[in-house]
Symmetry: C2
Subunit: 134 residues, 2 copies
């Protein structure tokens, strides 16, 4: 659908289906101040910006961030920090998050290696089974 400004909009059900989650989850994210869609009457109307936000929420979740941390990132992103103190706090925050992501990159690399091993052992045994006739 489109709203009065000819922008694309979504119902809660559409977004739920698109991202394979329940409407309950989306409402919950709103309750936690991660979303704030428009309304027509009681009904929530999500614009594209809301949809992007939701995508970011789910991305954060896949990386093991809590909703509180994700909210934190949003506030960081939205904030019009103007004092030097605020700006420096923000830089500190981004660096912290970056450190977590780097750690995760390491973790992924090591887990991938272990999966390689498991897989190799597995293929070897399969080949062995084939050779001995099966």
């Amino acid at each position: 659908m489109t709203n009065q400004n000819n922008e694309v909009t979504y119902s809660i059900g559409e977004l739920a289906k698109e991202f394979d989650i329940t409407p309950r989850s989306i409402r919950f994210y709103e309750e936690q101040d991660l979303l704030s869609p428009e309304r027509t009457g009681q009904t929530r109307i999500y614009c594209n910006k809301d949809r992007v936000r939701l995508k970011l929420i789910l991305r954060g979740k896949r990386l093991g961030f809590s909703l509180a941390e994700i909210k934190n990132l949003f506030e960081l992103y939205d904030s019009n920090a103007n004092s030097m103190l605020q700006l420096e706090a923000m830089l500190k925050m981004t660096e912290q998050k970056r450190a977590i992501l780097r750690q995760q990159l390491d973790d992924i690399q090591m887990l991938m290696n272990e999966l390689d091993e498991v897989e190799k052992r597995c293929r070897d045994e399969l080949a062995d089974l084939q050779k001995r006739g099966c």
Copy 2:
């Protein structure tokens, strides 16, 4: 400490301190069948293999895996699968985990990009503040 085979061993407290978690957590992982240390009397004695396992558990956690999934990975790793069906199931599992890790790599890349943006905006404003005398 070392055990009768001259292998290095650890108390629960030592491991807890090393990995910056509580003994309670370590006992909980055991309760969930993720660890199975030896005992002398009542006291748990962890060998190096246990320590490695613990490291793997924490790595999995940092990547957002549940303890159940981690246990799953362990069983996969330990399993002496011998039937073709089992081996193929294992390959399927590793591929699934791999897909998750790839997804996370993507997620990390995108989040990093967004952090770059935030940081850039932040530095620009800081420079601006400097320029206008402060």
